[in-house]
């Protein structure tokens, strides 16, 4: 059976409120009520929401346009530091901090993208790692700004203020609600983006850069834009991360984080489905907390699962689901678009 790609899943026009989105939003809006009931805790919800924002944005780059960055932890970290520095140096402000996080990651991403967008393949991957390491090194060495290896400690969680509405985000349940709303907006926005012409062009570039160029697409600029966009989402996730942790430290932007996001995307099936990253992130955290509650070596088991997955079904969980549905006759196989009569 040939490898399935994102282009095998039908493009969907119109409303993003599909059944899958419905399930996603339902889970998101009920999590605080059932998380404790299944033996988990509110903070896990925050972590999952943050990583989902990171992963969905990252998959625009990794899955859709097919550019393999192994250094995206850097932009998560830059977002985290920027949020913390804004609180500590400028003002305690939720929106100011998040704006700083997004802006810093966008600028850093934009600069790096300018250096690497003429490449692809292994050179691209190596350069993303190199830049990731540079940022990580800076975070450790620039003591005066970043607090060196200790990082920034005691970052406050500013109140949510919007017009007359004001409430505290100090407890984890309210921070979860805030993160969940941001995540919902990100998911709906990105779903729309990848199913619009823009998403099709990204996939065209993944399939054949040369052909895309010769039918008139400014491939360099679109690659640049996609990297920068994905860094912006990482920055938002990083800002939320430093709120959640009330600190920002070099480990956030380590190569380990960069590898983790790639592993989550591959296990979940980000190369096959918009929802792949969601499955991957959830599986990772469930494995960490459930298997991790049983044995210290949970990462070994997760790693082993990753290996088996890559060897047997490189398209990940979403690929398995797609194959199963095709066999059951529910999914249109080998066709990436509805025929006009079905539109």
């Amino acid at each position: 059976m040939p490898m399935i790609t994102l282009s095998d899943i039908p493009a969907r026009g119109g409303s993003p409120f599909t059944p899958a989105m419905g399930v996603f939003l339902l889970a998101l809006s009920t999590a605080p009520f059932w998380l404790p009931a299944v033996g988990l805790y509110q903070y896990l919800g925050i972590e999952v929401a943050i990583w989902l924002i990171f992963a969905l944005g990252f998959n625009l780059l990794f899955g859709y346009i097919g550019l393999h960055s192994f250094g995206h932890g850097a932009y998560l970290g830059i977002g985290a530091y920027a949020f913390g520095l804004f609180q500590q140096e400028i003002a305690v402000s939720l929106w100011g901090g998040l704006l700083a996080a997004i802006s810093a990651a966008t600028i850093a991403g934009g600069i790096v993208a300018a250096f690497i967008s003429h490449r692809r393949g292994i050179y691209y991957a190596l350069m993303t790692i190199a830049f990731g390491q540079i940022f990580w090194f800076c975070a450790i060495k620039l003591h005066g700004v970043t607090g060196g290896e200790d990082g920034l400690l005691g970052i406050p969680r500013p109140d949510f203020v919007l017009g007359p509405i004001r409430f505290s985000l100090a407890d984890n349940t309210s921070l979860y609600w805030f993160s969940a709303v941001l995540l919902a907006l990100v998911a709906i926005g990105l779903w729309r983006l990848v199913n619009a012409p823009f998403g099709r062009v990204l996939q065209a570039i993944r399939q054949n850069e040369t052909r895309a160029r010769f039918v008139g697409y400014d491939v360099w600029r679109i690659k640049w834009l996609t990297f920068t966009l994905s860094a912006a989402f990482a920055g938002l996730a990083g800002g939320l991360f430093s709120m959640a942790q009330e600190s920002a430290y070099p480990d956030v932007m380590s190569l380990h984080q960069s590898g983790l996001i790639v592993m989550m995307i591959l296990v979940g099936g980000g190369l096959v489905s918009f929802w792949g990253p969601v499955l991957g992130v959830i599986l990772y955290f469930v494995a960490r907390d459930v298997i991790g509650g049983i044995t210290e070596t949970w990462l070994l088991w997760f790693g082993l699962m990753f290996v088996i997955m890559v060897m047997s079904r490189p398209e990940g969980i979403a690929g398995l689901i797609h194959v199963a549905r095709t066999r059951l006759g529910h999914a249109p196989a080998g066709r990436s678009a509805p025929k006009p009569t079905e539109v």
Binding site: A196, R211, G216, R335
Partner: protein, 247 residues
């Protein structure tokens, strides 16, 4: 003045000079053939003309504008299209999407985050009409990678025609085709010549001599002769290498 002109193009890769001195002049509404032995530099010449490589020296003009050193996407947007000797398609997706992606109407909405792709019936009708020209309309919703070789070549041409270019460069369109498919392609090109200016590289002499208004012979990175097919039969290299099969 000619629609498309190249003057004294020169291109080298490292120490290897591939194009020594190439000048071409393609009149509006004609079929211009390019022939020459393997490794003569024909494909490299197309790469330079369409912006894939910048020339080291020389000048390229199209419709009176200097396009030397312009990028492929800029050249494509001016109405210059091409096919490839080694096929270049969007293989993971369906046949019709290969064409839709090449339509200027789609491209201009290409960065639009709101519009639907496959909800736009006007776009789909346009793409189906393009596919129909090359006899592929019945394959529209199949995956490009799944097409047999001959149909993939036809799709390669459909993608080049989709933007309704002013000039199309075709690099060995008959390569690997059987006699029937080659005849069908000749009919297609006869049909297209009324609407587009065409420049094609060909090894199949019968095909080329039948269709071309003028032919440039490239050898060692130089144009060693340029003439009508009838007059070219007198050229020593042409006569020696190929005319056996034509006459």
């Amino acid at each position: 003045m000619a629609l498309f002109e190249a003057q004294n193009l020169r291109k080298r890769f490292g120490a290897r000079v591939v194009l020594e001195n190439i000048s071409l002049s393609i009149e509006d509404g004609t079929v211009h053939g390019i022939m020459g032995p393997n490794g003569a530099g024909k494909t490299t010449c197309f790469h330079v003309l369409t912006g894939h490589h910048a020339p080291d020296a020389g000048r390229i003009t199209f419709a009176g504008r200097d396009i030397t050193g312009k990028k492929p996407h800029q050249i494509a947007r001016m109405g210059i299209s091409r096919s490839f000797q080694i096929m270049n398609l969007f293989d993971d997706t369906v046949v019709i999407e290969n064409v839709i992606l090449a339509l200027p109407e789609f491209r201009s909405s290409g960065l639009n985050p709101i519009r639907d792709v496959f909800g736009n019936t006007a776009l789909i009708d346009r793409a189906l009409a393009v596919l129909d020209q090359v006899g592929l309309a019945h394959r529209a919703w199949e995956k490009a990678a799944a097409l047999p070789y001959g149909e993939r070549r036809a799709l390669e041409i459909a993608v080049a025609l989709a933007p309704e270019p002013r000039i199309v460069f075709l690099d060995e369109p008959t390569s690997g085709l059987g006699t029937d498919a080659t005849r069908a392609l000749a009919d297609l090109i006869r049909d297209l010549r009324n609407r587009y200016t065409i420049c094609l590289i060909e090894h199949d002499m019968r095909f080329l001599f039948d269709l071309a208004d003028r032919i440039s012979v490239i050898h060692w990175g130089q144009v060693i002769d340029e003439n009508t097919p009838a007059n070219l039969r007198a050229n020593k290299w042409v006569a020696r290498s190929a005319l056996g099969e034509v006459a």
